[in-house]
Amino acid sequence: MDFTFSDEQVQLRSSLQSYLAERNGFERRVKISRSEPGWSADLWRGLAEELGIIGAALPESVGGIGGGPVETMIIMEELGASLVLEPYFETAVVAAGLLQAGGREAELEAIVRGDARYAFAWAEPEGRYRYHHVGTRAVRDGSGWRLSGMKAVVGAAPWATHLLVSARTGGDIRDRDGISLFLVDPAACGVAMRGYPTIDGRRAADIRFDDVQVDATALVGTEGTSLSLIEKVGDVAIAALGAEALGVMRRLVQDTIDYTRQRRQFGQPISSFQALQHRMVDMFMKLELATSAVYLATLSLDADATERAKAASAAKVSVGQALRFIGQNAVQLHGGMGMTDELPVGHYFKRATVIEGELGSTDYHLARYAELSKAAA
């Protein structure tokens, strides 16, 4: 057992920290978020070229650095601490994970270079958190396919150069078999994207596919058997998103401590009130345990499927409860100022609220963990 970071990992974190401190300060980030298109091509280029971290966890064969989940964890935590808008998670974690399994080297190289940005369109309006709730259909058309269906709240889709789309090539809605993955050009004929801002200052879209034609190479992996890959990458994504959440929460806890030490009421800093001190201690404790939960999920990604999934669900539950408790109390302890968009706390709280509801809510993962435990017993 070993919970230490290598020198290279420490170095990765600190260079990313300095870079973001300089390039993604609070005011600048708010300005980018409110601009059209809502993200910064410069920052993205910087991550790819100056820092070269988009391929941090990808193999050297596609231009990456050959790191693994721990590198992803470090990067995601720092992106969270800085509320980075740009689609690292969607591109370098989720899409890259799916493409790697499909052996799509060219696409991975484009990702590492910073030339491609992805969005993974899996969710459907009635599907909640089930990857196998797939009503979108792909039917063969010569050597290619035609896709039709509706995908919901696809994060980063308005910025994407490529869409990965889960579609049904067989079976019925909520069948586990018959799910395939396709690479789709968002500009293709029949793709109707309705984008909107999200509460955390990002962009997402509902996307309608109306008889969208793709050729044979659009199929990623093998036909009809992609669910287990998607679920595996889903657990990878939970670990990464959990790490982002740690960065978000670290900032919420620290800001709250700082604010209460400076805000005076009744003739003293409000941090002198024991009830508030203990609340902040509770926040710190939740963060500490969430950190361990993210380690657990991250270091269990190569375990067998049940153990991996249990660790991911354990992490999502722990992180979800921590996000809610820390987010709500950070606002509460900032008082009225916490209710405005003037201080960072509200922005971090909204990102916390979104993460809590992504890839399965706390309720969802508690139930999933219970199911997995019952099945394993």
Binding site: P125, Y129, A152, I199, Q265, G267, A275, G336, G338
Partner: protein, 406 residues
């Protein structure tokens, strides 16, 4: 002891229900239903409809235009208003300052201000909190210095809801210093168009503009605009608070929200179960909030119809606002990933681009964010607990539930 309504009370409830079903502006109800934001004009029409029945000035003595209800009748009215999905009456004018003008205003002041409130010709804002005086309101610093027949006002008020559409603002100001900080505070009314009054919007966490910073830069207002005696403002503010301490209860709103959640959860697909209402975690959490709401209602009724105990009143502020927040958490769970879209809600029909089943998600997520304020404003939960503890420690005995009320 008796939990049931009398036949007369039941008949009154029917009358009120009928009013909201037919006489009240139905387009306002429709806007609230779809989560659109109301304009000042919407609010005015809604208020005028209430006033057409004499049901607007709900906390005023009958002689000034109040409806003359018993506490139970008022409770029934508020229940039905919230059950119908009507917006709550904006409290600043009619609930907060109106009763104070009735009680402590001069005949001239009553004449000048009350009819405009009753007929919705004037909107009011409340100038209490300041940037450096939140929970510790008595430390407020905005100054009012006499100059002939006028006060000259300098200072900043914050969190002033609706200041951007108000005609008047009533302010707690410091007219003298040096004594205990609660002393030397006066209650002064200022027209919003007075020179030197500046309103800056504060955008809330849910992206809406309801709150403001109002700065007063050498604003001149006649001493005749002071309500009651100089230096007694703290006292009047507390009278006001005491009479409206249960105004945040919103039991009707909670009950109708919970009904709506239960209905919606019976339709929306679940993850592990067919529908959300069968998801074990959700079902139990919903039940647990329903239970809390039904129990809180009894406590509210006991407080409204009996001799209210101050510790219980503060406890109910906490319980009611926390329950309201829990309800928003249930909505958030139903919203799943649809908690994300952030859309303008000022125009009717704003939600047409969303899948029908998930349209509720946008305003309800906004509520989740905005209702965090409930446990901050009006005496934060932590401050209420300090108050309760002082009362418990002072009393040397718990408030006696289950004793006859004198």
């Amino acid at each position: 002891m008796e939990l049931r309504l009398t036949p007369a009370e039941r008949a009154f409830a029917e009358t009120v229900r009928g009013f909201f079903a037919t006489e009240y502006p139905q387009d306002v109800l429709a806007k609230v239903r779809e989560g659109s934001l109301l304009t000042r004009e919407d609010q005015v029409r809604a208020q005028c409809a209430l006033q057409s029945r004499g049901w607007f000035a709900i906390g005023w003595p009958e002689q000034f235009g109040g409806p003359g209800w018993t506490p139970t009748e008022r409770y029934i009215f508020e229940q039905e208003l919230e059950r119908a999905g009507a917006p709550n009456i904006i409290p600043m004018a009619v609930i907060y300052i109106g009763p104070i003008i009735c009680a402590f205003g001069t005949p001239e002041q009553r004449q000048r201000w009350l009819p405009d409130i009753l007929e919705s010709r004037a909107m009011w804002a409340q100038g209490y909190s300041e940037p450096e005086s939140g929970s510790d309101l008595a430390s407020l610093g905005m100054s009012a210095v006499r100059d002939g027949d006028d006060y000259i006002l300098d200072g900043t008020k914050i969190w002033t809801s609706g200041a951007h559409w108000a005609d008047w603002i009533f302010c707690l100001v410091r007219t003298s210093r040096g004594e205990r900080k609660q002393q030397g505070i006066s209650l002064v009314c200022v027209p919003m168009d007075a020179p030197g009054v500046r309103v800056e919007p504060i955008i809330s966490i849910d992206g809406t503009h309801e709150l403001n910073r109002v700065t007063f830069d050498r604003v001149r207002t006649p001493i005749a605009n002071r309500i009651g005696e100089e230096g007694q403002g703290w006292h009047y503010a507390n009278v006001l608070l005491a009479s409206e301490r249960l105004s945040y209860a919103h039991i009707g709103r909670k009950k109708s929200d919970l009904q709506a959640i239960r209905r919606m959860a019976s339709d929306l697909p679940g993850d592990f179960a067919e529908t959300m209402i069968e998801e074990p975690g959700f079902a139990e959490r919903l039940a647990s909030v329903e239970i809390a709401a039904s129990v809180i209602e009894i406590s509210v009724l006991r407080a409204l119809t009996g001799e209210p105990d101050a510790a219980v009143i503060s406890a109910l502020k906490i319980a009611c606002t926390e329950a309201a927040q829990q309800i928003t958490e249930l909505w958030l769970e139903l919203a799943d990933r649809y908690r994300q879209p952030f859309l303008e809600r000022t125009l009717s029909g704003w939600n047409r681009t969303l899948p029908e089943a998930k349209r509720f998600a946008v305003p309800q997520t906004a509520s989740y964010l905005f209702e965090r304020a409930q446990t901050i404003y009006g005496g934060a939960t932590e401050v209420q607990k300090n108050i309760i503890w002082r009362l418990l420690a002072r009393a040397n005995a718990l408030p006696r539930q289950g004793q006859a009320v004198s």
